[in-house]
């Protein structure tokens, strides 16, 4: 079990390998999701992520606990950056392990859906034209209804 919130970059491959190496008990399936800064409209100079220190960790731990109640999981990693990052930098990742692939996949999707709408992070886009907060997407809120 690990929830990490950090300003600096992370190495997805190293995180994935460390996560896999720590597995015990016949975890046959490992799923990772990695989110990357996208320059959707063109001209993005930086993405800034604000968060709510204290509540962030609490919210992520609660989301992890909910996932563990619903699926038979070995281990869970939730790692999220805050601060400024450039296009193509990695923002966050989750990893799950389970005996069976269905559990690992579903739990990872659940973690992502909840993280998107229930963890206190806010994105601000900086372009040459100025800065603006990213609006929440209805799809992200709707995605919660399937669980």
């Amino acid at each position: 079990m690990a929830v990490r919130v950090q300003p600096g970059p992370f190495d997805m491959g190293e995180e994935a390998n460390a996560f896999a190496a720590a597995q015990t008990g016949g975890m046959g399936a490992i799923v990772t999701f990695t989110g990357v800064v996208r320059d959707v409209a063109g001209g993005l100079e930086a993405m800034e992520i604000e968060h709510y220190p204290g509540m962030t960790e609490r919210a992520l731990e609660r989301i992890e606990a909910q996932a563990r109640e619903r699926w038979a999981l070995g281990d869970v990693l939730i790692l999220h950056r805050h601060g400024r990052m450039r296009p193509d930098e990695m923002i966050m990742m989750v990893a799950t392990s389970a005996r069976h692939r269905g559990d690992a996949f579903e739990a990872a999707e659940f973690l992502m859906d909840y993280l998107k709408s229930r963890a206190p992070f806010w994105k601000k886009e900086h372009t040459a034209q100025g800065a603006g907060w990213v609006a929440a997407r209805d799809e992200d809120e709707d995605a919660l209804s399937r669980w």
């Binding site: 989110g35 992520i49 604000e50 968060h51 709510y52 204290g54 509540m55 609490r58 919210a59 999220h80 923002i91 966050m92 992502m112 993280l115 998107k116 709408s117 229930r118 963890a119 206190p120 992070f121 806010w122 994105k123 601000k124 907060w133 990213v134 609006a135 929440a136 997407r137 992200d140 809120e141």
Partner: protein, 82 residues
């Protein structure tokens, strides 16, 4: 005394990240009413509650939630992490 925290554009609109206020408000909605009445920047930040979320002592809550015993209230827009 209760600590109030603001994040993202709520923080920018009000102009400060946090403040301690003395209040007798029984619910979040009552507290919002007191804040709105203070100054234009508060009125602007709280003009549309459907665009806001609230957390009480770092747990998401509703605007009609009671404030009894609460030490930290946070207001912010819908979250956009991930």
């Amino acid at each position: 005394m209760i600590d109030i925290l603001y994040f993202a554009w709520v923080r920018e609109r009000i102009g400060i990240p946090r403040e301690a206020v003395e209040t007798q408000a029984a619910t979040v909605a009552e507290l919002v009413g007191e804040l709105r009445a203070r100054e234009e920047r508060y009125a602007a930040a709280f003009s549309d509650l459907s665009a806001l979320r609230v957390a009480l002592d770092q747990d998401l809550a509703d605007f009609d939630a009671p404030l009894a015993g609460v030490r930290e209230v946070a207001f912010f827009p819908p979250m956009t992490g991930g």
